[in-house]
């Protein structure tokens, strides 16, 4: 009988022992299940587990950014939270207002951890900090860049190696690039800037290039009605209505990449997140450049950050910190950037031999990094959903010719003032 009880004990120990020592690290990750990136993330999780016995990582793939936020917050309300989540960088104020996240500074207390917090591009930290504390660690981040079709440039008699550097040049070059058939119908447009899905994001680039940011750094005021902002929207609208180099009405975000790779537009503004896909499908040589300047260059950043939830045990926080630090190590940031086209989030990632070699063969990959110098944080305020939609509607109303840019933006500013007054 003795051997039996010993056997039972050992089985029990084997079953219970590791489970007790193991910390479960569940995190929500905004991507549809089965997408190509789930494999990359799964691979990282397994590798991390091997290097850190005692921590078990469970990524939950939760759809797009909106879905991921809804699922994470719903789980939180139901009392079963994931300690960690990658969510939209601009959800910051919403998450603070709901009082569900903690600052990374409260967890990263060692000197080494504090240095880590300072290792990222400052441009990427602007959407993650509030009142001097860091709430979001940049992970899958992007900016807007200009893609141009070198073959079309050659055909139109332009230098294929020289993209437009400013607004005037872009309009002029674009009008040379427009191609019409015998009946006068356009078969190739000069430039397309998408205006569905994320119109505010594209517009931030125009506004920044004209010297204006659209919101205050505390997230409690917007700057929609400044004359230079109105002029920026006027320029965007003129590309379609006056210069006739872009289709009138809105340009669909989801199909723009195909329009470019099919040669239906010679230039497009799009996220760097599309870089790898364009490279794989374009049958012509293409270039990637910084967006053109008006008073200055400019582009907003975008994408997802790591957030740490408040309802967590000290062990979970420690495990989360270890995991996020591991995920943002220079070598991994470089690897992630090459796999996706997202920017590597820290300067030393670009110094790794692998990424250096990759950039030497594919210089388009580092344009986004060079543009960080002119970057502005993505539009994010308190009441961010409503405040953002006011701007989206104003942009679309103006591009479709229903309202003038001045009327549309002034009305949006008046509404946003009403919404944000309680936060000042």
């Amino acid at each position: 009988m003795k051997w039996l009880s010993a056997f039972v004990m050992s089985v029990l120990l084997a079953a219970v022992g590791p489970a007790r020592a193991e910390t479960q690290l569940t995190f929500y990750y905004p991507i549809a299940v089965g997408g190509p990136l789930t494999k990359v993330i799964d691979g990282y999780a397994r590798q991390f587990e091997q290097e850190h016995p005692g921590i078990k990582v469970n990524p939950i793939y939760a759809g797009n950014y909106d879905d991921a936020r809804i699922k994470a917050l719903a789980a939180l309300k139901a009392g079963q939270s994931a300690p960690l989540s990658v969510l939209y960088s601009i959800d910051l104020y919403e998450l603070i207002e709901q009082d569900v996240i903690v600052a990374w500074d409260d967890v990263a207390t060692m000197a080494e951890d504090k240095a880590w917090l300072k290792a990222f591009y400052p441009a990427l930290m602007m959407n993650g900090t509030y009142k001097g504390k860091t709430y979001g660690i940049p992970f899958q981040r992007s900016t807007i860049v200009l893609y141009w079709n070198k073959e079309a440039f050659k055909e139109a008699g332009l230098d294929p190696e020289r993209p437009p550097a400013n607004w005037t040049e872009m309009a002029q070059m674009a009008s040379k690039l427009v191609k019409r058939d015998a009946a006068g119908n356009v078969t190739r447009w000069g430039v397309m800037v998408p205006s569905t899905g994320y119109p505010y994001w594209m517009f931030q680039a125009f506004a920044r290039q004209n010297g204006q940011d659209l919101m205050s750094r505390d997230g409690n005021a917007t700057n929609y009605a400044h004359p230079d902002v109105i002029a920026a929207l006027q320029y965007w609208r003129d590309l379609g209505i006056k210069h006739k180099v872009m289709p009138e009405g809105t340009v669909e975000w989801g199909t723009l990449r195909q329009a470019f790779t099919e040669g239906k537009t010679a230039m497009m503004w799009h996220t760097t997140g599309n870089l790898t896909a364009v490279r794989d499908t374009a049958k012509f040589p293409f270039g990637v450049a910084m967006l053109p300047a008006s008073k200055q260059r400019g582009s907003p950043t975008g994408g997802g950050n790591f957030y740490l939830f408040k309802k967590t045990t000290p062990e979970e926080r420690k495990a989360a910190l270890a995991f996020v630090k591991w995920m943002t190590e220079p070598a991994r940031a470089a690897d992630w950037s090459m796999a996706t086209g997202y920017v590597a989030v820290r300067p030393d990632a670009y110094a790794t031999p692998k990424l250096k070699e990759y950039a030497a063969g594919f210089p388009q990959a580092v344009v986004a990094r060079d543009q960080f110098e002119f970057a502005t944080p993505e539009l994010s305020t308190f009441q961010t959903g409503r405040v953002r939609k006011l701007l989206d509607d104003a942009i679309q109303a103006s591009l479709t010719g229903q309202k003038s840019p001045a009327d549309a933006l002034k009305a949006a500013q008046a509404e946003s003032d009403k919404l944000l007054k309680p936060y000042r």
Partner: protein
């Protein structure tokens, strides 16, 4: 004892109905009288304030108007096409099963998949419609980017998707019609159109009522395509009531206002259903 037995039999269904239909409806109604709570400012009773905000909300009136146009545009068309298709595949055709299946295929596809397909159909220049248009020399249209075209464009897609589903009901009804009627009509020398107008169509009325109720409800609850096609844009030109509720609840996090909008939607649907059954029921059966 008999009562207990009856209630026991009802219990599973009752639990599901109460838990997932009646309780949420009542809770929504109650929520619509409270403000949206945050960690800093807890929810409090505000009376009809949310309803006052709704009356002042221009987007609410716009999406409601869109929804009415959407219903008027899709329901009669889908029903007419469904009826024609059913009459057609009820005849003796070569490869009848294949034709029936072809008409029914759009129904079995998920709406999200359909919308992803149609997104490319509608893409200016490279899309199916513009390519076909180009063959006859028509200029390119920005189908989804023009506020005047976007709502009709989504309607065409929904009719395409729905008509096959309604066809099935008509087909079933047609097959239950006694064949003697047709024979008698033929002997009497009635034309096909006369026979349809005076016999088939009236006999299909109960089915038409059923389809009408379903189509009306669908026109208010079917918004999946907006997530893919337009996100309600440009400038809310294609947004529908339920999609607006989604935006208010999950993008603006204004749960109280979303509850208010939901109450309006529920009331509207209840009213429509009651009207349809009370008014049309009286004249629907063939006498």
């Amino acid at each position: 004892m008999k009562h207990v037995y009856g209630w026991l039999l009802l219990t599973p269904a009752a639990i599901l109905l109460i838990g997932f239909t009646h309780y949420p409806a009542v809770a929504t109604l109650i929520d619509s009288f409270f403000s949206t709570g945050t960690a800093v400012r807890p929810s409090r009773f505000v009376g009809v304030e949310n309803y006052a905000a709704l009356v002042d909300d221009p987007i609410f009136w716009q999406v409601l108007g869109n929804n009415v146009w959407f219903a008027l545009g899709t329901i009669p068309t889908a029903i007419a096409i469904a009826m024609v298709m059913a009459l057609w595949v009820d005849e003796k055709l070569p490869a009848r099963a294949l034709v029936r299946m072809a008409y029914f295929t759009p129904t079995v596809l998920p709406m999200i998949a359909v919308a992803n397909l149609w997104l490319f159909f509608y893409t200016p220049q490279i899309g199916l419609f513009d390519r076909v248009g180009a063959l006859v020399g028509s200029p390119s249209h920005n189908w989804l980017g023009d506020p005047g075209l976007v709502l009709p464009a989504t309607m065409v897609m929904v009719v395409w998707k729905e008509a096959g589903f309604f066809m099935i009901f008509y087909l079933a009804a047609l097959q239950s019609l006694p064949p003697e009627l047709k024979e008698a009509a033929r002997i009497e020398g009635a034309s096909r159109w006369y026979f349809f107008r005076r016999v088939t169509f009236p006999l299909l009325m109960p089915t038409t009522l059923f389809v009408l109720v379903n189509a009306t409800i669908n026109s208010f609850k079917l918004v999946d395509h907006l997530f893919i096609l337009t996100k309600g844009g440009p400038d809310n030109a294609s947004s529908l009531l339920l999609y607006y509720i989604y935006q208010v609840a999950f993008s603006f996090f204004d749960t109280a206002y979303a509850a208010t909008l939901t109450v309006v939607l529920l009331a509207l649907l209840a009213l429509l259903a009651v009207l349809q059954f009370l008014l049309i029921e009286k004249r629907v059966h063939y006498r």
